[in-house]
Symmetry: C2
Subunit: 122 residues, 2 copies
Amino acid sequence: MGLIKPSYVCMLTLAMDIVGGKWKMVILWQLRNGVARFRELKRLLNGITQKMLTQQLRELEEAGLITRTVYPVVPPKVEYRLAEEGTKLIPALDALCQWSTNYASSHGIVESSCCATHMVEK
Amino acid sequence: MGLIKPSYVCMLTLAMDIVGGKWKMVILWQLRNGVARFRELKRLLNGITQKMLTQQLRELEEAGLITRTVYPVVPPKVEYRLAEEGTKLIPALDALCQWSTNYASSHGIVESSCCATHMVEK
DNA sequence: CCTTATTGTATCATTTTAGATACTACGTAT
DNA sequence: ATACGTAGTATCTAAAATGATACAATAAGG
């Protein structure tokens, strides 16, 4: 979301600076049970553009939440997975997810096909 | 953050639509142990403008996370407090807060005076 | 030589979010 | 009469986030 500052009055603000925005939490969530390649993530993150995905992944890497493994082959192969710090965040995301699932069900909001990781398509 | 849609693929996205953005979570956090008036909130939310605070509070109210109580006196007196749905979110915010506190301490980020609610000033 | 597959970059436009500033209403105290 | 305090609105501007589109690199397969 924003650049990370040297000091914070409220730690929630720091959390938002690290994983706020439209995509970061969803990316981490998709990585929660394993590794994924760029293309695979793009498919899972319905509608994200290449530029955004690259950008978000770089920022998450920079913050130390994910790792990026490049295999020197062609065509390119790059794997993304949670780093230590990223893994530690999963319980919080899970709590958030449960809250909003409950919220949705009592507000007539529909959960369409949910975040199934590693869906096999076609 | 954004308008709430009728359906979501990932519930984290819903959470972000409800409490994303720069201020919403912090407002809820400040309300976690009780009531606060408009002016009081403005003081606690270092640097928020009146317009933003009003706007964020209205959106939180609309989403059913807080309640707004107007006393018909002059000068005006309005109290804000967590509603049921807002209270249910606190554990998730707490998890997030703990994560980022830990993150901060291992990344040389400083927590300056933290989110003390209801500070008595002067 | 041309196409395909994968992971990108670069440039520009649009949308969303946030901020600055000025103004309103009204009872009470001075 | 005037200023004060609280909780706002209204208007305009600036900054940040997101999106669309086109292009690059390179080995393998035909």
